[in-house]
Subunit: 227 residues, 3 copies
């Protein structure tokens, strides 16, 4: 059984499985499903028609998960939109905002004050720092690192598989350093490093590492100015 | 209490909150949630697992909403797909079609006969004219204007924030004039104006204003022919 | 009435309409809707908040469907994620994996062992061969052919309408031959043919047919090397 405090506001047709922990003053919208092992902090708000705490499934074409039994933890004062799915084994910090239709995989860390936009997707094993913004429909691939204060524009695309499934390869996503900003619909190739405070123009294709404090644009992305 | 006419067909597990107005011959699918203050016209069809009439939330990293209490109004003969989310303070005209998994924010106007495709997103304060087509997975950013008969191809991306969160800036999306057509996966920068009947090629990046009746393509987009 | 075997595990608030056929050892998540005429094979697993077996609607701006009354068939050992929508008249083979938030239209065939990623969309009349991978947020337009072992990277975009709604035109999507690989966020124009084992670089725009065993990249895509 799960203990639901008297201060919680639950919508109609919510499903709360066993071993769910719910803090004070939590709001859960209609038709939302909270799966076994989810831990929800104080003052968290969750919209309607969400599925939280999904256990990763193993498919032979997909990557093995080291530890699929851990909890989903949502810390205090965080707000989850509507029609959101989030996996277990993921930790979401305080004052985070997750937009409607977003999906977040297992073994992800999202630190305090970050925003994951509407219909944005964060794949497994990724680390999102503090006060990052991941805009609408952006795609953060698996094994990606976003340091603090990174801005990912709408519809940005990343990949982590250099051989597109053809060879055994250790998957690695981009590493985006503090304060970098990626323009809308830019494409980042596997394992590229984007430097501190660097700006990548809209629609650019980043094929190699980029240093700190530069502005790049184009296909492939080239340096425009140094600052 | 909400008055539900005898002619309405409601699915299983639907949630209809208070102060919802429902016209004649309305169909609402299973597990769909209609939130307080929503007004649904005659002959409107709504799919399963939708959330309609969402009140905007205020997050310190997000924009303030001038008037968050207005209704969601869906006019007669409009069809809403499955797993759709729509905010309050938005007006959807007659004979509009909203695809599955689409999401539409607050303070949006969509006029008669327009189509919003599957998983397409329309952000806040945008105005969509008559008989527009916004295709699958296209992203219409906030404060965008689409005049009548505009075509937005699949996966088109827009942005409205020139400084990517870095400075105080009055956000402004693109302004796309009558009959213009934007090819699939094109990227539009903040505040660009696209002229009447102009065509933007697939995958182009539009960085500055474009006149009427021209064809542009490339990164950055350049004029190909004048007609 | 639908016959539900004793071996089936149904979540809370599931809706199973009439004339649904369910095999042995099927798991259906909470709040999922299975619409009339759906046929689910043995050992199929379906997540929460899905809508399966949707009947296509006819809109005057949209294409007519030749046969809208056929079943959705999901063959044995296939796994469907959470918040997924799938239309009737579609056939999904054995050992297929459909990611969360994905949407698959009517009259689609997906053969054995293929993967449709998270939030990916497959439009009507498309044929997906065996052991294909369609990654996260990729868009497979209508009337597309993917032969066996094709890899579609994340956020790849396709179109099937050369005139963007302006003229009467027989819609035709890309034809991607065996073993071809399309990099993330590439754009494919209507009716392009991509050859056997050909590789298309990330962010490329493919405007014309490409032969077998080549590597192309850029806007527009040009051949880099021959192998």
């Amino acid at each position: 059984m799960s203990h639901i405090p008297l201060s919680a506001k639950l919508g109609s047709n919510t499903v709360i499985e066993n071993d769910v922990s719910i803090g004070e003053n939590v709001v859960i919208g209609h038709n939302t499903v909270i799966l076994q092992g989810t831990k929800i902090g104080d003052n968290v708000t969750i919209g309607c028609n969400c599925v939280l705490g999904i256990k990763p499934s193993i498919n032979k074409r997909m990557r093995k998960i080291s530890n699929s039994t851990r909890q989903l933890v949502i810390e205090a004062n965080t707000r989850i939109g509507h029609v959101v799915s989030i996996y277990s084994g993921t930790q979401i910090g305080k004052h985070v905002f997750i937009g409607d239709h977003a999906s977040i995989r297992e073994n992800v860390t999202i630190e305090e004050g970050s925003v994951v936009g509407r219909a944005a997707i964060v794949e497994l094993n990724s680390k999102i720092g503090k006060f990052c913004t991941i805009q609408t429909l952006a795609y953060v691939t698996g094994d990606t690192i976003l340091e603090d204060n990174v801005f990912i524009g709408p519809c940005v695309s990343m990949s982590n598989d250099k051989y597109m499934g053809a060879e055994e390869y250790s998957l690695k996503g981009p590493h985006i350093k503090k304060g970098a900003k990626i323009g809308n619909n830019a494409s980042l190739l596997p394992a590229v490093i984007i430097g501190v405070n660097t700006i990548v123009g809209a629609g650019s294709v980043v094929t190699k590492n980029i240093g700190d404090n530069v502005v790049v644009a184009g296909v492939p992305a080239k340096e425009l100015t140094s600052s």
